[in-house]
């Protein structure tokens, strides 16, 4: 499995070079009274992270809503270029996309009319994993350590930087080391690094599957809580075809609920449908990844796909602190809670 942090890095680079600001073809407007054909561009390779989206199709949620959903896997194209979900959606190649909340805010700061309408994970899965022998139990323990990092500009790296700032960690002694995603966990085991940027649903699961002496330092335990995979569309799509957006969001919420109701079955389905694109050792980790995803998808007392305005405000503040956006934007235009609220009858 490729390292997720690469996605974020390439996405950040993609954002810089993106010039198709709102100039793409308009998404097809489909009223709910007629069959809806729509599509979504994932942020990365197929994995258990998107189980709720897959469920729309294999659990016939979409067909019951008269919706046909095309799911485009992420990663890299034939030319080795990262498939940027924001660019794909803005250019009209897909109606919906998946990206971190920080990516959406930065895209809007650059003038791209993207709007988040739901989230897959309501809690950040970003963590720093280490061997217990490294004795990294708190952020302060990172001082002087070798950290295998995600590419700068990615949600993971932004979260990491936010942690360092929030905990006033002296970064001067920290040795940030770029790692190849396919070797990152092994690098940790081989003592090439002391800690590693990770998703608890992916790299942490992978590490725990191999060793018991793994420490997981969850960034949300220190208040760093960015949405890592919001589902977004364009302002034009919302304006011209709100019924389609609403249909999709409702189907997404149902798909996410199904995935947490049946985590084992969801994992088997992912392996069945996309196992061919995964290394064999990762196929066996899909179930553990799904179980780790459950509290992220549906924290206690919440409903799947819900978002909080406060998290968006915090995210913008983090971006401002890290000077990833030059000035505050109207963050309330970056997300629209009305669709998910209507999905739950609110």
């Amino acid at each position: 499995m490729r390292h997720r942090s690469i996605v974020r890095g390439l996405l950040a680079l993609g954002l810089i070079v993106l010039t198709a600001c709102g100039t793409g073809a308009a998404p097809t407007a489909v009223p709910t009274s007629t069959p809806l054909e729509t599509s979504i561009q994932l942020s990365w390779l197929h994995s258990i992270e998107f189980a709720g989206i897959y469920a729309i199709n294999h659990q016939n949620i979409g067909s019951q809503a008269r919706m046909t959903l095309r799911i485009d896997g992420g990663g890299f194209d034939d030319k080795g270029q990262y498939i940027n979900p924001v660019a794909q959606v803005v250019s009209g190649q897909a109606d919906f996309g998946v990206a971190g909340a920080d990516i959406v805010l930065r895209a809007r700061a650059e003038g791209m009319p993207v709007v988040a309408i739901a989230t897959i994970y309501q809690r950040s899965p970003v963590a720093l994993i280490s061997l217990k022998s490294a004795n990294i139990q708190r952020p302060q323990d990172l001082a002087g350590k070798r950290i295998g990092i995600a590419p700068p500009g990615t949600t993971v790296y932004v979260s990491y930087q936010a942690l360092l700032k929030a905990e006033t960690i002296d970064t001067s002694g920290i040795n940030e080391i770029a790692v190849l995603p396919e070797n990152a966990v092994q690098d940790l085991f081989d003592n090439k690094i002391d800690a590693l940027h990770a998703f608890i649903t992916h790299e942490a699961t992978q590490a725990r599957a191999q060793r018991d002496d793994i420490n997981v330092l969850l960034l949300s335990d220190y208040g760093i809580d960015l949405y890592s995979n919001v589902v977004f569309t364009t302002e034009k799509m919302i304006a011209e075809n709100p019924a389609a957006v609403e249909t999709f969001v409702k189907a997404l919420s149902q798909g996410l609920q199904w995935s947490i109701d049946h985590p084992q079955e969801a994992a088997k389905q992912v392996v069945s449908d996309y196992g061919a694109t995964m290394p064999p050792q990762l196929q066996a980790l899909q179930e553990a990844g799904m179980l780790a995803s459950v509290p992220l998808i549906k924290p206690a007392g919440s409903q799947p796909a819900m978002m909080s305005a406060k998290v968006w405000e915090n995210t913008q503040q983090i971006l401002l602190d890290q000077q990833l956006i030059a000035a505050p934007i109207d963050v309330t235009k970056a997300y629209d809670l009305s669709f998910i609220n209507r999905a739950y009858g609110q």
């Binding site: 809690r123 969850l218 220190y222 947490i260 109701d261 985590p263 084992q264 459950v294």
Partner: protein, 561 residues
């Protein structure tokens, strides 16, 4: 009922026109009736009994499960309350005083807050009276930052995103079980806010409960039999909060059943339903909503086991019912035979009477109503038989008288027939004498007619004269009507017909002896006798005949008839 009552002989079935079909016989109808009377109540009572047995068994099982659930719920509540109380004891007295001082003047503290906190917690935990059995105890500021904890790794974290955070600042709170981010463990957090003299919250002391205790409570299976279990299901995604005792049922999966769904809807109850397993098993279940855990507490036992006892009783009841039914049938058969036997005997007696046999009485024994009826029947039969004997004697006498009368009448009839025959013979003789044909000369016949010439006599006359012509080879016939008192149309026609017949034989006829009054009558009637050779009298007729015959034969004196 007759004690014993049997017919002396069985009547012939085929000889009786009133043979009763087997199914209509009173014996079989009585057998059917008595068996029905015996079995129908069983058919009604047995299902009711089985239903009541099943219901009683279910009630017993439910009562037992209710007791178990009550016990488990009490254990859960006591566990939660004890831990909350222990936390409260820790927070109110030793901790609150010390922490308030430390937070107010951290510079003057003899030891860091965390150290003080841990020493107080340790002292409290070591107390024999303490129920402080948390896996983790920590203290956090109102902003959520953990300032002290029994685990150093927790210090510095924030609980601001935890589901209990906001409630914990307000009042003592127990957060229902939830899966924390980054762990695979369920967590139950009990919290108690600390307040200063002004009532402001200076922080919250919280503890993470060891859920193994909860699992142990649920997995204790006393009173649940072999297939029973108790378990908790969370309102959060319908996940199991305690492990299933049946393999293959992971905790993190949404489970549904009638009991689970009802309890999570806040209802308490009991029912038979398909449980959460795959494939589902029918269970008797008792379910309750446990608000402190926001979970459903269920106690279930497989129906097969729950009703095993009642099935034995049910089987025994069915066997008893079957035996009772057979006995009832046998008694019914015996009783019906005893009742129907005498009636059949009476029926046979009546049938013999109907066929005329009054000689065989019905054999009667006993003193009941049927026996008395049989006695009366025999008396009646004897009376009928006596009446029949007198009647037969009178009929014989009358028959003899009738036979004598008949013989006399037959004799009279024979005499009458003889007389009639003699008369007819006499009439034949007379008729022959009334039509004489006399050959007077060779070839000449004279037929003197005397008396009225009716139709019958005319025919006889024709026959006689034709026969005579043939016999005597006559050529002339003289018909003398001197003796005929009257000639009418019919007589004239007869004469003409006779003349024609004579002519057909090659002879001729001559009519003589027409008296004047006859002639006058012939004329007045317009009769035409031109076909006849007529002479005035016999002499002239003889002469004319002789002329016609051309011979002088001697007159024969022989009369021909």
């Amino acid at each position: 009922m007759a004690d014993t009552l049997q017919p002396l002989s069985e009547p012939s079935q085929s000889s009786s026109p009133t043979t009763v079909p087997r199914r209509h016989r009173i014996r079989w109808r009585l057998i059917g009736l008595l068996i029905g009377v015996a079995i129908i109540p069983l058919l009604v009572i047995e299902p009711l009994t089985l239903y009541l047995i099943g219901r009683q068994s279910q009630r017993q099982t439910v009562n037992q499960l209710e007791s178990v659930v009550q016990l488990k719920q009490s254990q859960i509540e006591r566990w939660l309350n004890d831990n909350l109380t222990a936390l409260q004891v820790l927070a109110v007295e030793p901790l609150n005083t010390e922490l308030q001082t430390l937070l107010a003047n951290p510079a003057q503290a003899a030891a860091p807050l965390n150290q003080t906190f841990r020493s107080i917690v340790a002292a409290q935990s070591d107390s024999a009276a303490s129920n402080l059995h948390y896996s983790l105890i920590f203290f956090y500021a109102p902003d959520g930052r953990i300032l002290a904890a029994s685990d150093d790794a927790q210090i510095g974290k924030t609980v601001r995103l935890q589901p209990y955070f906001e409630q914990s600042l307000i009042k003592p709170h127990t957060e229902p079980p939830y899966y924390g981010v980054g762990t695979s463990d369920l967590q139950v957090v009990v919290s108690y806010p600390l307040r200063d003299a002004s009532g402001a919250t200076i922080g919250v002391v919280a503890g993470q409960l060891n859920l193994q205790v909860l699992a142990d409570i649920m997995l204790e299976r006393s009173g649940l039999g072999e297939s029973g279990e108790t378990y908790l299901v969370s309102l959060e995604s319908n996940y199991l909060l305690t492990p299933s005792r049946f393999p293959g049922n992971v905790m993190q999966q949404s489970y549904h059943s009638q009991g689970i769904d009802q309890s999570l809807a806040g209802q308490n109850g009991a029912a038979i339903y398909a449980d959460y397993r795959s494939p589902p098993q029918q269970v008797v279940g008792v379910y309750r909503w446990v608000p402190q855990l926001e979970a459903g507490l269920l106690a279930e036992v497989d129906v097969d086991e729950a009703f095993a006892g009642s099935r034995e009783v049910t089987n025994l009841s069915l066997i008893t019912t079957l035996i009772t039914a057979v006995l009832a049938a046998m008694i019914g058969l015996y009783a019906a035979t005893n009742i129907a036997g005498p009636i059949s005997a009476l029926t046979a007696g009546a049938r013999r009477i109907a066929s005329g046999d009054l000689s065989v009485p019905v054999n009667v024994q006993g003193h009941d109503e049927i026996s008395q009826l049989a006695h009366s029947f025999n008396t009646m039969t004897e009376q009928v038989r006596q009446n029949q004997s007198g009647l037969e004697q009178r009929v014989s006498e009358r028959t003899a008288a009738l036979e004598q009368t008949l013989q006399e009448r037959s004799l009279l009839l024979k005499n009458l027939q003889d007389s009639t025959q003699a008369r007819e013979q006499l009439e034949t003789i007379i008729r022959g004498l009334s039509i004489p044909v006399v050959p007077v000369l060779e070839g000449i016949l004279i037929m003197p007619l005397i008396g009225e010439l009716d139709h019958q006599r005319a025919a006889a006359m024709t026959s006689a004269i034709l026969a005579a012509i043939d016999t005597h080879r006559a050529r002339v016939v003289i018909m003398d009507i001197t003796g005929v008192p009257v000639i009418d149309t019919h007589t004239a026609q007869a004469l003409i017909q006779t003349t024609r017949s004579i002519r057909l034989l090659g002879a001729q006829s001559i009519l003589v002896g027409i008296r004047p009054e006859i002639a006058e009558t012939i004329v007045s009637l317009g009769l035409h006798l031109k076909e006849l050779e007529i002479c005035a009298d016999l002499q002239s007729g003889v002469r004319q005949a002789m002329r016609l015959n051309g011979s002088h034969g001697a007159v024969s004196t022989r009369s021909v008839n």
